[in-house]
């Protein structure tokens, strides 16, 4: 049975359309947080600096006609800002920050991802904003939290990944002569923190329904990433595992790893007897397996056996194609999967079924299939109904109207 609606089913309900969010963010974590909310129908107003706009407009990948206005060709910006409105306002000037202060009366939440101290510099002091705006939810995303020590003032995602413990332990089973790695892509730490922040903001808005009180939320990227390894870190901090300088502290034993096929790579997981039996079938009952005890993975997982198993399975895979051999293995109960690249995903029958990609028509970038979100809500699915805004596209339509609304609210309250 299909629980989630097909496109065009006429179901236009959105979970968050009662909320207006002011986005002051200028990098990936805060913009991604805003997108997660706007794709659920929240009215996200992005404040951009005049002329240049958000710095993410200058980051690739770029698409569209190379002659087009350069600030409108960023695929990164287009991805991170679907369904948002763009209002230009120079909040670094006294007049601009005064306008910003007035806008706070007519929004439910503010998202920011500048360094500690920046919010106070534009007149939204995390310590005191609640005096004026007791119902406001203010969310800050920073590398190390609002109280970052002096020696942690400057950080990119690479640094956070490495202060969180993930970096030192990436990859698994490292070659000790090579440096630890940065993780996937450019912005993994930012996406993780943006997701966490979105969860906190909606939770805070939920709590506000009854309490009528807002909250200050201080998301630390370092902590978000470190929390993602709680299964190990919790044991380390409780003394159940020994903390050491080894790069293998997070690792698991066993033969699970990546193998090369004729046309790409596969990932093999192998941890129990059933997997071993399935592998035996897949490989046609080869003789070398007979020298292994049936439960060697659980009980006698020696480095020699791991090496032998990998060598034989690797040789077997060299003449196979990744999709085909993975499908055969899955049928037998062996968790073997193709290592997919970003280009493989659009043709995944599962992604097609779940409509993970949504076609978006952007005035400069044209029509393209955007990746969406990993959850399907049957009654209120996330949707992309508008492309990312052009710089200042909504200034005229939204700014004056919001200020008038804020004025009215102020009179109402006084």
């Amino acid at each position: 049975m299909r629980h989630f609606g097909a496109p065009g089913s006429g179901d236009e309900v959105s979970a968050l359309n009662a909320f207006r969010v002011l986005e002051l963010s200028e990098s990936v974590s805060g913009e991604y947080c805003g997108k997660l909310l706007s794709d659920f129908g929240a009215d996200v107003i992005k404040i951009e600096r005049p002329a240049r706009g958000s710095p993410t407009r200058r980051l690739g990948p770029f698409g569209g006609n190379p002659d087009a206005e350069s600030g409108e060709r960023s695929g990164l910006f287009a991805y991170l800002n679907t369904n948002k409105s763009s209002v230009t306002l120079d909040i670094s000037t006294p007049a601009g920050s005064a306008t910003l202060a007035r806008l706070l009366s007519c929004v439910d939440a503010v998202i920011d991802d500048h360094a500690p101290g920046w919010l106070a510099s534009v007149g939204i002091d995390p310590e005191t904003f609640a005096d004026q705006h007791p119902q406001l939810v203010l969310c800050s995303i920073t590398a190390y939290g609002q109280d970052a020590p002096e020696e942690r003032r400057h950080a990119e995602d690479l640094n956070v990944f490495h202060s969180s413990g993930w970096g030192y332990h990436t990859p698994t089973a490292p070659d000790a002569s090579k440096p630890p790695l940065k993780g996937a892509g450019r912005f993994l730490a930012s996406y993780e923190a943006g997701l966490e922040a979105a969860m906190c903001v909606v939770a805070a808005l939920y709590g506000r329904e009854d309490s009528k009180r807002g909250r200050f939320i201080d998301v630390s990227k370092q902590e978000v990433l470190a929390s993602r390894v709680d299964y190990v870190l919790g044991q380390l901090v409780a003394g159940d595992m020994d903390a050491t300088t080894k790069r293998t502290v997070f690792d698991l034993w066993g033969p699970a790893t990546i193998f090369a096929c004729r046309d790409g790579y596969v990932y093999l997981w192998l941890s129990e007897r059933g997997h071993w039996a399935a592998m035996r079938q897949l490989m046609g009952n080869p003789e070398w397996m007979d020298s292994f005890p049936e439960r060697w993975m659980e009980l006698e997982c020696t480095p020699e056996r791991v090496a032998k198993c990998r060598q034989e399975f690797g040789a077997f895979l060299q003449t196979r194609d990744r999709e085909e051999v993975s499908a055969q293995a899955q049928q037998l109960g062996l968790p073997l999967v193709p290592v997919k690249n970003a280009g493989d995903l659009q043709s995944s029958p599962q992604y097609i079924y779940r409509q993970f990609f949504a076609e978006v028509d952007h005035p400069v970038l044209g029509r393209a299939a955007y990746p969406t979100v990993p959850y399907k809500l049957s009654a209120t699915p996330a949707r992309i109904t508008a492309p990312a805004p052009l710089l200042g596209q909504h200034t005229q339509a939204r700014l004056a109207a919001m200020l008038t609304e804020a004025e009215g609210l102020k009179e109402h309250h006084s």
Binding site: H3, Y168, G185, A226, V232, T245, P349, A379
Partner: protein, 401 residues
């Protein structure tokens, strides 16, 4: 005995967990950290395997304890008719069901969405599956490294010009759990405003893809398939992890020409800052291998922490690559109460990993992971209203323990 009021934005929300190992329990943990009352329904006959890893005693399994603080546990044999009825009774008084059993398992237990909806029409029912709950590949199962590979993440991690290595083998479950927790909170909000519950179907593979959205956009817009590139970054150079004294490593990321000038000054080689091979970002990208070699030769003579401090003073983004000793002794993480002590049922104090946020008027986080069935009396008595005699009968019949 119930929890005292802990505060937090989700105070008053009750979550029932039918989860195993890591991803599902992690999602439940986040909801508990936000103030929800999270009840694990467990049974000895179909135990969460993580209760059995590492220790003979099921109440002391360290991995389980790491991921399940601040939750309650009730032990019910949900494969029995009476047990199933108890669970449905509990769901009738709950707001969220979170499950990550094997594909189809929850339906076989008679606890699919329709069955639960019959007793609790506005339930927020969150189902987590490697490929989601429905579709041509929904039958497939895998472990975290499997879905990290399927989602496109593994392919992007590795050394330049070499086969991918992938993330550390532990990556994936917690992120998947977070996506589920976020979706649950959104569905709760919808219910708060309209009264309607819904079915939430979360895919682990897609969660992974959402961690590399910009790389997917590059393919979407340009047909470019990005490959692993070591520690490089198209918009920053240098951008890498360099050796230090004593086998340590430091991460350094330079995002501007000024940053490069500061780094070059600290390296102290005459003329380096203005050297034509490194002057601009484009120069540094063009000669990056040489640049990395030069920095590594310099950094190897220094202490990682001192070097990071010196670079920070100059405004350059740098941090020691923290090993597990550094990580567990990180004073900033202790000061922010990311690490904090909680109390277990025997009154013993135990340090745990807290949430990735601080929040005004946040929920109190005070309890260690529950013993199996620790909260039977609260769930069966206080929530379901069963008398002591009725509870005893269920225990005698083996429905609860």
């Amino acid at each position: 005995m119930s929890n005292p009021a802990r505060g937090g934005p989700l105070q008053g929300v009750r979550v029932v967990e039918l989860t195993r190992v890591w991803a599902g329990p992690f999602g439940g943990k986040l909801l508990a950290y936000l103030g929800a009352e999270v009840i694990r329904v467990e049974s000895l006959g179909a135990l969460d395997p993580s209760r059995g890893y590492g220790r003979a005693k099921i109440n002391q399994a360290p991995g389980f304890q790491a991921v399940n603080p601040q939750k309650l546990s009730v032990q019910i044999d949900i494969k029995s008719g009476q047990g199933r009825a108890l669970l449905l009774g509990l769901l009738g008084k709950s707001d969220v069901l979170l499950e990550n059993l094997r594909p189809g398992a929850i339906e076989r237990l008679g606890l699919g969405y329709e069955a639960v909806k019959a007793v609790k029409p506005d339930i927020v029912y969150v189902s987590m599956g490697m490929y989601g709950n429905e579709g041509p590949l929904a039958y497939q199962t895998g472990y975290a490294p499997s879905f990290v590979a399927l989602g496109g993440v593994t392919f992007l991690v590795g050394y330049e010009g070499e086969p991918p290595t992938g993330m550390n083998i532990r990556y994936g479950d917690a992120t998947f759990g977070t996506a589920a927790a976020f979706a649950a909170v959104v569905a709760l909000m919808h219910r708060r405003r309209t009264g309607a519950g819904q079915f939430v179907d979360v895919s682990a593979v897609e969660t992974m893809s959402s961690m590399i959205g910009d790389a997917i956009m590059d393919f979407t817009l340009n047909g470019t398939v990005r490959v692993c590139d070591g520690n490089r970054h198209p918009e920053m150079a240098p951008h890498g992890v360099y050796p230090c004294r004593g086998g340590d490593w430091i991460s350094i990321a330079v995002s501007s020409d000024q940053g490069w000038k500061e780094l070059a000054d600290l390296i102290g080689e005459p003329g380096l800052a203005e050297h034509p091979r490194f002057r601009s970002h484009a120069d540094r990208k063009a000669n990056e291998t040489e640049l990395d070699r030069l920095i590594a030769a310099w950094s190897a003579r220094h202490d990682a922490r001192e070097l990071a401090a010196a670079l920070q003073k100059r405004g350059v983004a740098a941090a020691k690559s923290q090993n597990s000793i550094d990580l567990t002794s990180d004073q900033h993480l202790w000061a922010r109460q990311f690490y904090r002590a909680v109390t277990d049922s025997a009154g013993q104090s135990r340090p745990i990993v807290g949430p990735g946020w601080k929040m005004s008027e946040g929920a109190a986080i005070t309890s260690a992971a529950p013993r199996l069935g620790e909260h039977n009396a609260y769930v069966l008595g206080d929530i379901l209203g069963l008398s002591a005699e009725q509870q005893q009968k269920l225990a005698d019949a083996g429905v609860t323990r």
